[in-house]
Subunit: 439 residues, 2 copies
């Protein structure tokens, strides 16, 4: 008998890789932070002596969901301002609120709230994009949550940095400080083509090559962005990024609601990953990302929630469902982004986008044990004809029962293992008072 | 002190009428099946001696959600076949499954499962459309659930009726049998313009006038429907319905994804109600209903889930959110179908569509006590800047804690008062075995 840390026996196992497969009565063996075996449950019981043995008789076990674009500190501004055009939302509400609030404490408390929400909703990894990456990294490390930290670059001063050089210097210092953390990574996060100069993009391209870091960029979010860039630069932002050498396999392009067929082909050829944020794109009336066209062209497709000020949640189950539903109407084809492909985008697609597909995104031997159990015996998911369909089209995130990251249990039968919900709630309320100026 | 049956004191009260209002620390007084007062909680305690006093300190109280288009027996076919074009979905999967299953027991058991799901998700009224309206009515009556029962009319035989005359005869018998039931109503439910003849529509128009019954009709669901009708009838289905006298204030038009501005104006003028089923329209790639245009034109806008075989749930919170999000992208305006208007459509809009707005749809004195409490202290809905925004953009239906229909408590702190969940689950599993032919 081989001694291991953990054996999980779910009713159904959805490994994501191979695509579309559902294994019944199988078990996964985990030792330290890794998956060491996947095999029929009866064989597993004969072969392994686990220190912890978890039987999940009404559950599907899936890879942890990967939220491939988020601004998690903004969870503290959930629902602050809705139903407004982008510029009035940003200038009259979000920026003034940030001016009152932003700083290390806001970033720390917002991420705590976000991590609690993500864990309770089956998300085990996020691609973060905000100010104070040092505080972000320290907070994710302390909470044992897997995250890629964006190093912000923007051409105006903020509470984090006074100007271009400082953004780069402080960002690179954060990269150095956290480079050996097992759950963390860093990327460059130039805000958008309309707020970042050619000079900064050139520096990012060079550093991204040297350090092998992804570039996390809002790109082609709205038709207005394209139109304005044509005036300012005489080119679509994508073409300008091509000219600057940014369109390559380091690029994680967020939103991409405006794309020509040639741009889609160029993404496929260059190895660009596209992060689809369907609910944010709908809510801000940004446009429709051609998710199915991208997928068929072979572009890596991932899914993100965007920040809570424009969503208003970090619900990757909801986002996956919206992506699957919306893709069909946009493609005018009910077969578009089928359930298995949507689940793929929400897990392995995110891992690929971040360059972490050797490590996470599917349940495979040798990968990190980032796994999520989902109860399917609620009447809202009965009867069960097809487990993957149920996961995408009917499951609510509250059906997530248990979550492990790198083999560590983070949620146990709906209870957060190492976070105090009442304290998090109390902090959220204090931030609301501070931001809205009322109790 | 006035003796009453029930006093409910929520933290927030969202009456829907007046529009957009949130009352804090108010109470509603309920006697028998009606709301008899709405007043500050302190005054209520001084004035009323309630037999039951419910304090909901972290909750919003809203009118029960009205699901304005559903085929509830099909809940037993949830997820049976997904990601398929409409005709292959229908002909290769749904109809063969119905052929195996349909009958009084299927309708009864499917509605039980649906009622359990609706109550747990804050829905207190539905506009039902399926075969065996006699079984439907008896089941809703037994379960104490408010429903309008469609009397099906279609030009081909089914397990319910052998031909046109029998559809009318049996339908009218159901109408007569249940006409005095306080929670029930009936409508005519001609399936669609492409499956119902002019002769039947003429009979429906006459009977609907005489009996003052709504007409519940799938209309302009897809572009294909319009195209085909042009070939067969030389007119768009809406124009044919106009010529047949069906376009009037009895008409509840479902889907309506294809509409000219003139048709929208004609709906407004005639008092037609439109039921928007955004998730079904997306999933079947049917098209985009111009929800905001309809609303601005003054057309009554309601929201429906459609059946579980094409959604795959009866989640009106989810449907309301999808409606609010999608309307913005379709209208290319982030202000479209704001949160308060979406909540309106999911409550009072549905009541208006069904001709029941004097009775339900808002929390007002004299109306039926159909009310729903939603916990807002989950971290997923923290912090709270705006209660209505939170209800539409962040709440999950599992946050529904308590539900009353006509003053009767149907859900108590998440527990169904008069339904046995394990029995419902067991029945759903038996139907799956029968339909899919495997355990």
């Amino acid at each position: 008998m081989q001694s291991i840390d953990l054996l999980i026996e779910p009713r159904w196992l959805v490994p994501v890789q191979p695509h579309g497969v559902v294994l019944e009565h199988h078990a996964i063996a985990i030792d330290a932070d890794r998956i060491v075996d996947i095999l029929p449950a009866a064989d597993a019981r004969a072969r392994f002596a686990p220190r912890d043995h978890v039987v999940l008789s009404e559950h599907a076990l899936i890879p942890g969901l990967v939220n491939a674009h988020t601004h998690n500190p903004m969870t503290l501004m959930r629902g602050l301002a809705d139903d407004l055009p982008l510029m009035s939302w940003l200038k009259e509400h979000i920026w003034p609120a940030e001016a009152k609030a932003i700083g290390p404490e806001f970033v720390r408390d917002g991420i705590e709230l976000a991590v609690a929400e993500m864990l309770r909703g089956g998300t085990t990894c996020c691609n973060e994009n905000y100010f104070f990456p040092d505080v972000q990294a320290a907070t994710y490390r302390r909470l044992g949550f897997r995250a890629m930290i964006g190093l912000p670059v923007i051409e105006f001063p903020s509470a984090w940095a006074s100007g271009r050089d400082e953004y780069f210097d402080k960002g690179l210092a954060v990269h150095d400080e956290f480079r050996d953390e097992p759950l963390l990574g860093t990327s460059f996060a130039p805000h958008a083509p309309y707020t970042v100069s050619d000079e900064s993009f050139e520096r990012i391209r060079m550093l991204s090559d040297q350090l092998d870091l992804p570039v996390h960029l809002h790109l082609h979010e709205t038709a207005h962005e394209i139109e304005e860039a044509r005036g300012t630069y005489g080119a679509r932002p994508f073409a300008r990024m091509q000219a600057l050498g940014i369109v390559n396999d380091h690029l994680i392009a967020i939103h991409m609601t405006q794309l020509t067929d040639a741009e889609i082909a160029a993404c496929a050829e260059a190895g660009v990953a596209v992060v689809h944020c369907p609910e944010s794109n709908l809510k801000l009336a940004s446009g429709f990302c051609p998710a199915e066209k991208l997928r068929r062209a072979g572009v890596t497709l991932a899914i993100g929630t965007d920040g809570c000020a424009s969503n208003n949640d970090l619900d990757m189950f909801g986002e996956m469902r919206t992506a699957a539903l919306l893709a069909k109407a946009v493609a005018e084809d009910a077969r578009a982004l089928d359930a298995a492909s949507a689940l793929d985008a929400a897990t392995l697609g995110g891992a690929r986008a971040m360059g972490w597909s050797e490590r996470i995104g599917s349940i495979e031997v040798g990968k990190q044990a980032d796994v999520v159990a989902v109860r399917l015996d609620d009447i809202e998911t009965q009867p069960i004809y097809n487990v993957i369909s149920q996961l995408v089209y009917a499951v609510g995130r509250h059906q997530v029962s248990d979550v492990w990251i790198a083999g560590q249990r983070k949620l146990r039968e709906r209870v957060l293992v190492d976070l105090d919900i009442s304290e998090i709630r109390a902090k959220a309320r204090r931030w609301r008072e501070r931001i809205s100026g009322s109790a």
